[in-house]
Amino acid sequence: MDERLEKALEFANYRITLSTQKRNVRNRMQILQTVHYSNGSFLANPETIGFVKALIDSNKKSAVIVDQKENPIEVKDLQDFLDTLIESYTEASNEYKVQIDKINKSRNIKKLMDW
């Protein structure tokens, strides 16, 4: 095979593997971001965190929040819920950063696989 073509194919395979790995890491982040609270299922993302903070800033101690499955969930302690969301978000985003930095530094398939 022509050397240039071989290199092009090798690079294409690297890009496919790279994009799959990024998606794997995003999925791992989603696992860490999923918060189950009072029988509801929430995603600890900026939107949820901001909304709960807005409720607290409006002097609400408790509230009914619609979860990811469209179920109305009674959250009795908004501050505790906010702390849980922030903890999950922080853990997820920190791990995400570490993993993505590692992937971005890997310039070939062998490095992506730690070989």
């Binding site: 799959t20 794997n24 791992r28 989603q30 696992i31 999923t34 993993q99």
Partner: protein, 303 residues
């Protein structure tokens, strides 16, 4: 059978056949539960023949580190042959003994049970949340394959215009009346398999518990897409029989060769860390037996 159901735990069913050593898989799976979950009491459910093989093939210290209890049934398995693949290039037939899976409701020693298949490797603590919930029954509604490929069409719906396919790979249940009804429907579908295959228009040749739970879920959800049965939120990650396990880098860090269905000459490396993995290619597990145990021995302090 233990009459008094107590606490939380994970059950694994394993019946060996002449091709696949499910006992070996079940011990690895249980060890992963022990290493990664908080609710990690484990029970093995097996038959007399397989139990005898455990005594012969599994060192006592490993068996005791993996399982807290073993429940042995004296049963005869009905014939249910299944074609297996080991990568795209090798295929073999083996008995698929899954017809008494619904008996788990009676057999479990726990009040709240997570039943997992013996080829489902738990690599994080995600499922712990369900033991603190009020959900009577929980399953996975969706699945993905490596490279985030969608499931096959018959794994999305039972037929082209049919009901949604749910997965029996991980089933959580409590002792509620609703759970009892769920397992009663499962048993009823099993007993009337030909009728339900006509009604829901799926091929009757291979008995699949996924179809039983899909029908039970459809009925309990009021014959529509309601959410009475809890979906575990995240999709089940299936490693296809045509995919291969290439390297076990650590306890929860595995590298696979992902087979492309549309372009079968393409195989792409993909690495999963801390994500639960349903290993459909069973012989690939056997090939990496030593390296899988290397990580597990360290995690469980087994000599």
């Amino acid at each position: 059978m233990i009459e008094e159901k107590q606490g939380n735990g994970v059950c694994i069913i394993a019946y060996n056949n002449n091709q696949l050593d499910y006992v070996q898989f079940a011990h690895m799976t249980a060890a992963h539960v022990k290493a990664n979950m908080k609710n990690n009491s484990t029970t093995l459910i097996t038959d007399v023949g397989t139990a005898a093989w455990i005594e012969e093939s599994v060192p006592t210290r490993i068996h005791e580190a993996c399982f807290d209890q073993i429940i042995i049934e004296d049963i005869v398995h009905e014939n249910n042959p299944r074609k297996h693949l080991d990568s795209p290039w090798t295929e073999f037939n083996a008995q698929f003994s899954n017809k008494n899976k619904n008996n788990i409701y009676k057999l479990t020693p726990y009040e709240r049970t997570l039943l997992i298949d013996s080829d489902y490797f738990i690599m994080n603590n995600y499922y712990d949340y369900v033991f603190d919930s009020d959900y009577p029954v929980a399953l996975h509604k969706n699945a993905v394959y490596p490279e985030w490929r969608p499931p096959y069409l018959n794994e999305q719906t039972l037929n082209e215009g049919g009901i949604h396919h749910w997965w029996s790979t991980a089933v959580y249940f409590d002792r509620s009346e609703e759970s009892q009804i769920f397992f009663d429907i499962w048993a009823h579908v099993k007993e009337n398999w030909d009728y339900y295959s006509l009604l829901y228009q799926f091929p009757p040749n291979l008995f699949r518990t996924d179809f039983c739970v899909s029908i039970a879920t459809h009925m309990l959800n009021g014959f529509n897409q309601d959410n009475f049965i809890h979906d575990f939120d995240l999709p089940l990650l299936n490693i296809d029989q045509k995919d291969d396990l290439i390297e076990v880098k650590g306890l929860n860090d595995w590298i696979f060769l992902s087979h492309n269905r549309r372009e079968p000459w393409k195989n792409i490396l993909t690495r999963f860390q801390d994500q639960n993995i349903h290993m459909m290619n069973k012989r690939a597990i056997t090939r990496h037996n030593d390296s899988i145990w290397q990580g597990l021995r360290g995690a469980l302090n087994i000599e």
